[in-house]
């Protein structure tokens, strides 16, 4: 049996369509804004425990930090960042590659430099805990 839709549609007033539309848009907008992943918006560079730079993640950039061992080169691309080169012996922070999640961090301990991504909300990493 095919359900008859027409008699139901006749019950709708012009303003009713408007209300249905408004309710749908509120729902969609809420879902998109409340359920979107929290993207990082800036990269925080620290050297010797102090923040030396906060770089926006919306355009490509390069940044050099001097530490006890030499220069650490930070590279930024839209939405991600990495430690491009570091004078440390084991290269852990370089091998981590591109960071793109909110709260992600690369730490070049020998040179006392760290790179961390931050977004709207603070997230915890295993170290802060």
């Amino acid at each position: 049996m095919k359900p008859a839709i027409r008699p139901w549609l006749q019950l709708m007033h012009p303003g009713d369509w408007l209300c249905v539309l408004a309710a749908l848009s509120i729902t969609l907008y809420a879902a998109m804004s409340l359920w979107s992943p929290d993207r990082p918006t800036r990269a925080i560079v620290r050297a010797g425990g102090r923040t030396v730079a906060t770089l926006p993640l919306d355009r490509a950039a390069r940044y050099e930090v001097r530490g006890p061992l030499g220069l650490t080169l930070i590279e930024i691309e839209p939405g991600r960042a990495r430690v491009k080169s570091d004078p440390g012996p084991r290269q852990y922070c370089v091998k981590q590659g591109w960071l793109s999640r909110n709260g992600a961090a690369a730490i070049c301990a020998p040179n006392e430099v760290s790179l961390q991504l931050a977004g709207r909300s603070e997230t915890y990493d295993s170290m802060a805990y």
């Binding site: 019950l11 709708m12 303003g15 009713d16 249905v20 309710a23 729902t27 879902a31 409340l34 359920w35």
Partner: protein
């Protein structure tokens, strides 16, 4: 000796009682439907509240809605449990919204508009109370899209049912249907 006062129920008292009985029956019936989240339910009793609002005015709708909240909670063993207060907050907020929305021009805004506004009033009131009292953390707003979608779907459906009842059913028919439902409930 204190003089005996006799209260006579007038026509509107009987009407409120009949409609409230129908609303309570619908509330109890829909409590049997399993839901994934408390608060995600059709809210069929709102059909009755809207019907009363559009036929007999806001005051009687308030009576029916609040009688429904108290009596249905009592029957379901939820009276003064958290769910009861959420239900009450939702109902009060929804009635306040309807109190304003009833002044909208009827020609343009029918039962579906009122039903949607009432549904959003319901979830609004519930969320605010839940945020202030039960889950005092902003993380609760992550549930908003779920409730909003529920309100959109069932607000529209209930509004259409109300509009159809308003067009097809006379007060007499609803009276009979209402007492029938009450006997079942």
């Amino acid at each position: 000796m204190t003089p005996t006062r006799i209260l006579h129920a007038d026509e509107s008292d009987y009407r409120v009682a009949r409609y409230a009985a129908a609303a309570i029956a619908l509330s109890v019936a829909e409590a049997a439907i399993p839901t994934p989240l408390p608060g995600v339910k059709p809210g069929l009793a709102n059909i009755i509240v809207l019907l009363v609002l559009m036929r007999h005015g806001w005051i009687e709708a308030v009576w029916v809605a609040l009688l429904r909240v108290f009596a249905a909670s009592l029957l379901l063993g939820q009276l003064f449990a958290p769910g009861f207060f959420l239900s009450l907050a939702g109902s009060l907020c929804s009635l306040a919204v309807l109190g304003l929305a009833r002044h909208l021009p009827r020609r343009w805004f029918g039962a579906v508009s009122l039903s949607l506004l009432a549904a959003f009033g319901h979830i609004g009131g519930q969320m605010i109370l839940a945020r202030l009292w039960l889950v005092p953390h902003d993380g609760i707003w992550a549930l908003w899209p779920v409730f909003s979608a529920t309100a959109t779907l069932f607000g529209t459906a209930n509004g259409l049912i109300t509009a159809r009842l308003l067009r097809e059913g006379t007060d007499e028919e609803v009276r009979v249907a209402g007492s029938g439902d009450a006997a079942v409930g």
